[in-house]
């Protein structure tokens, strides 16, 4: 069972001082590691590779993935000025893993920063794989060529389906509890090499960012002034007036 997990480094704080692995990718990696372990227990081979696209420095997330238990890691080094859409990210990843016969590709449902949720399903299309998004449960019998998944729908419903491998799933938050990197694995990770690939030809993007603007307000948004006590009094008065308190 050869599994690929796509991971991304994102800013945890708006100033960019703290960077971390995209929270949703931790669930993706954890799910892949659990599947690998199930295969190992059944005496079958399993391996988890991770790939990230990002500027220099983004390999930190690959090291973290090693610490969690990933076997191999690849860093596609992008130009920090380049800020392509999911279509570009997926195109570059598809190009980099061409010829690697993965049985399963796992991504997070979306990135925390862009929140598009498109890299996974676009990558599936480019790799010619069946795809299921928003997966909240997986089950597969080691050795079988099928993965059963449950996709989260609205209203607390789940769409259950079986996919023939190879396939791609995007994993919803909450599917598992991502492990912390273990000390022994972190120490071993220091000796591991990260395969580094330079991004050469960037595929044409499907969209251009024209500008950023402040979101529209859907309500009046009256900002309460004064001390914290003044604000508490103002809320208290309003709620009394409205008969809520």
């Amino acid at each position: 069972m050869k599994i690929l997990v796509c991971i991304k480094q994102v800013n945890e704080t708006p100033d960019g001082h703290t960077q971390a692995m995209n929270r949703f990718d931790e669930y993706a990696l954890e799910e892949a590691l659990c599947i690998k372990e199930r295969f190992k227990e059944a005496g079958l081979d399993g391996g988890v590779d991770v790939i990230t696209l990002g500027p220099e420095g983004a390999e930190t997330v690959v090291k973290r993935a090693f610490g969690m238990g990933a076997d191999n890691g690849c860093h596609l080094v992008s130009d920090p000025k380049q800020n392509g859409s999911s279509a570009v990210t997926a195109g570059l990843i598809a190009g980099a893993v061409k010829g690697c016969a993965y049985d399963l590709v796992v991504t997070g449902i979306m990135s925390q920063d862009r929140m598009e949720g498109q890299t996974g399903p676009i990558l599936a299309e480019l790799m010619g794989l069946a795809c299921a998004t928003g997966v909240v449960a997986t089950s597969l019998v080691p050795g079988a060529a099928v993965i059963e998944v449950e996709r989260e729908m609205e209203k607390g419903e789940r769409d259950c389906l079986a996919m023939t491998l190879p396939a791609l799933i995007t994993v919803q938050a909450g599917i598992n509890s991502p492990r912390y990197p273990s000390l022994s694995k972190v120490l071993k990770a220091a000796k591991k090499t990260i395969k580094t690939l330079a991004v050469e030809a960037v595929p044409a993007d499907t969209q251009t960012l024209v500008r950023l603007e402040a979101p529209l307000k859907s309500r009046s948004g009256r900002v309460l002034g004064g001390t914290v006590d003044d604000k508490a009094v103002a809320l208290f008065d309003l709620l009394r007036e409205r008969g809520i308190l």
Partner: protein, 323 residues
């Protein structure tokens, strides 16, 4: 003239309300681009559903995907690819929902076009429509111009207001069959996991917790705060439910409950679009957040920029003085 296509969302119960938001978005685009609108219902073929849409004055394609049993992304992508290759729409409007997110990005690639996710607004520009989508956790909107055609617009639920229906002449329905002969995906049915939202539905006041809560132990403080209001309950944004701090049935947002209490107090919630879509029906929205730029403030009646716990203590003190 290339039309604007709308992919109708439906389930066993019929047309899902978000479809009308998609139509509202399509009308804005149709006005800006002088295009016509075609609604497409991918499914088993349902003349009654098709008539419902056509009666709104919108030309409708009742697309029966033969061999598909329940939603199947392969079947959707295959059949819609065939239909749209002939129809050549300029834009394809899809919900940014569990279903739309599943098939639209791949369909865009297959059609040689692109897709824009989470669209919440359309701006008219000299070069054509620009599509707005949230970035930086909703603090800003990015205005994006599509460079590939057709462009799939994945509409954020709750973002486009449904206009009251005026009288329209019923439009034409075209029935169409496309055979699906895939086989890599086998649907195993829909299962219902929880009867959620009952407490949230019945509460007059919802005090909702977000990541700004910091520590799990702080939930107690919020419970105490909520208890100050009659008929109240503590709700939560998704990350807290994912981390197991609070049960799923208290989750507010697209993947949880859509609520409409008298008062919604968002505590330490940044205001992701997923969460916002679930709270817009509230009568009064009050937000407490230490970050003055939090997106939630754009959708609040009352904005309280303060440390959450200092504010709660101050409020408790006031209430003690005015029992």
């Amino acid at each position: 003239m290339r039309p604007i296509a709308v992919v109708v969302e439906h389930d066993a119960g019929g047309i899902i309300p978000v479809t009308h938001e998609l139509l509202a978005c399509a009308r804005i685009l149709a006005d800006q681009t002088q295009s016509s609108i075609v609604a497409v219902i991918p499914g088993k073929g349902d003349p009654a559903m098709a008539k419902q849409i056509a009666d709104l004055g919108i030309e409708t394609v009742d697309l029966a995907i033969i061999g598909m049993d329940g939603y199947n992304s392969e079947a959707y992508k295959g059949a819609l690819f065939q239909l749209f290759t002939t129809l050549a729409p300029l834009y394809i409007i899809v919900g940014h929902t569990a279903t739309g997110r599943d098939f639209a990005p791949g369909l865009g690639v297959r059609l040689g076009g692109g897709s824009i996710a989470g669209v919440n607004h359309i701006v008219s520009d000299q070069t054509g429509p620009l599509f707005s989508r949230p970035v930086l956790n909703g603090v800003k909107n990015a205005l994006v111009r599509p460079d590939a055609s057709p462009c799939i617009i994945m509409v954020q639920p709750g973002a486009f207001r449904v206009q009251g229906t005026s009288f329209a002449c019923p439009a034409r329905v075209t029935a169409m069959d496309i055979r699906f002969t895939g086989g890599t995906i086998q649907p195993l049915g829909i299962k219902t996991v929880t009867t959620q939202g009952e407490d949230l539905d019945q509460a007059a006041v919802i005090v909702a917790a977000g990541r700004g809560l910091g520590e799990r132990e702080n939930l107690d403080i919020l419970e105490r705060f909520a208890a100050l209001f009659p008929n109240s309950v503590v709700g939560a944004s998704r990350p807290l439910v994912d981390d197991g701090w609070i049960e799923y049935r208290f989750q507010v947002g697209i993947t949880g409950a859509r609520v409409s209490p008298k008062l919604y107090i968002a505590c330490g919630i940044s205001g992701s679009s997923q969460h916002l879509a679930g709270i817009l029906g509230s009568e009064l929205i009050v937000s407490v957040n230490s970050d003055p730029n939090a997106a939630i403030f754009n959708h609040s009646d009352l904005c309280i920029v303060a440390d959450l716990f200092e504010f709660i203590s101050a409020f408790e003190r006031i209430l003690q003085r005015h029992p």
